[in-house]
């Protein structure tokens, strides 16, 4: 049985841990809010961009752009988008597992797989296990569109030069605060645009003059489309990371509370036992005195 003092010290330690986890929870909550705001601010841009891209795709008859080129997929690249920091539950672990499974499948098919990691956790994990051709770490603290552009700059020229044939992006899709779903999307060759979006208001766009030509404009817009896709994934990762951390820290805090209450119970029992033992001593002592007297 641990002594009263030991338990007391333990309760103190758990209490301190609880303070830390609660503080982390609050920090994550405020970061989550700002990430969510960023996502909301991005929505009008993404929406308008997709409108124009879709209407343009309808007008362009033959879509020929190097980013749309379908080749025999022998060499594959994977972008794995994790967070920079840990302590966010299964957020990175799940994503890394998905990535590993996906890559293993491709390797078993006899394909050549290389990767690009975004975020420190993914890089640290894959550093010795996979062929990393490019990496971005410690980027999520403060980021904007330029980060998406720099990631796109890593992948677009190499794809056009036919250094690889397919590019996949694996990231945590943000469902809600507590649910993030690891998702695999193919970035290159770009899935054809405009076919599934029949709801585009065609009258609105028909009488446009395009300058330069539709095709030339399409060439300009496609790289921007890649930026939009990457930026959205970055936003979702950042929101998801903080959401996951909030949940993890909330859990940790309530676990601490549980531990404290069970330890306090033990402590009280130990104290009671000590008092009882002392009383027994006193009673025994007086009785002995009375007998001898």
């Amino acid at each position: 049985m641990p002594s009263l003092k030991d338990i007391k010290r333990k309760v103190g330690a758990v209490q301190k841990t609880k303070q830390i986890t609660r503080a982390m929870n609050m920090v994550a909550a405020s970061k989550f809010k700002s990430a969510q705001l960023k996502m909301e601010n991005f929505r009008p841009y993404a929406g308008k961009f997709m409108d124009v891209l879709n209407s343009l795709a309808l007008r362009v008859e033959s879509m020929s752009h190097p980013l749309l080129a379908v080749r025999d997929p022998r060499r594959i690249r994977v972008i794995c988008m994790t967070s920079d920091r840990g302590l966010c539950g299964g957020f990175n672990t799940n994503l890394i597992k998905t990535t590993e499974r996906f890559m293993k499948e491709k390797v078993n098919d006899g394909k050549d797989v290389a990767m690009i990691t975004v975020g420190r956790k993914g890089r640290d994990y894959f550093r010795k296990k996979a062929n990393i051709v490019a990496q971005k770490a410690d980027v999520f603290g403060k980021f904007d569109m330029t980060l998406a552009v720099s990631i796109a700059d890593e992948v677009i020229p190499a794809f056009i030069k036919e250094e690889y044939d397919e590019l996949y992006l694996i990231y945590n899709q943000f469902m809600n605060v507590s649910v993030q779903k690891p998702t695999v999307v193919r970035l290159f060759p770009l899935p054809s645009i405009g076919q599934e979006t029949a709801e585009v208001d065609t009258d609105r766009f028909l009488d446009y003059t395009y300058e330069p030509s539709e095709e030339a404009l399409m060439h300009k817009l496609l790289p921007m489309y890649v930026h939009v896709l990457v930026y959205r994934a970055l936003l979702e990762t950042s929101a998801g990371e903080n959401g996951a951390r909030m949940a993890a820290m909330d859990n940790a805090t309530s676990n601490c509370e549980e531990l404290i209450s069970s330890l306090t119970l033990k402590m009280n029992k130990a104290r009671q036992a000590a008092i009882t033992a002392e009383l027994m001593d006193i009673v025994g002592g007086t009785e002995a005195l009375a007998k001898s007297g």
């Binding site: 960023k38 601010n41 991005f42 009008p44 841009y45 993404a46 308008k48 961009f49 124009v52 343009l56 904007d144 569109m145 330029t146 552009v149 700059d153 020229p157 009488d207 446009y208 003059t209 395009y210 300058e211 330069p212 030339a216 404009l217 300009k220 817009l221 921007m224 930026h227 939009v228 930026y231």
Partner: protein, 135 residues
Amino acid sequence: MADELMLEVVSPEKMVFSGNIEEVTLPGTEGEFGVLRGHEAFLTSVEIGEMNFVKDGKKTYYAVNTGYVEVTGSKVTVLIETAEKSEQIDKERALRAKDNAEKRLSQMTKEDVDYETARAALARAIARISVAERQ
């Protein structure tokens, strides 16, 4: 006012500007162009450069990065990857970036992989500096 034009400038981070203006000038792919109310509906891409618009007789300048613009008779929508007002620009930094880019460009040939990136960096720096000097 009858000759007013609705302008919306949207970047991924925020709504940069939204309001009624008299005239807007943009650095298009095919050269700089101005838009007044009643302009023919058209769509074009925007290059790195300088954008300005006139509101209440006052000109406001922005340094912009690639994007595109959609013009209808009474409304101009500009979607841009970055847009900075002159107050937001760190001129010292832009000057340094310009020197840097020039240095890099002088050591490269056109075939170099990074030539385009360096050229774009130079163009961005020049646009920033000229906007910063507009104050």
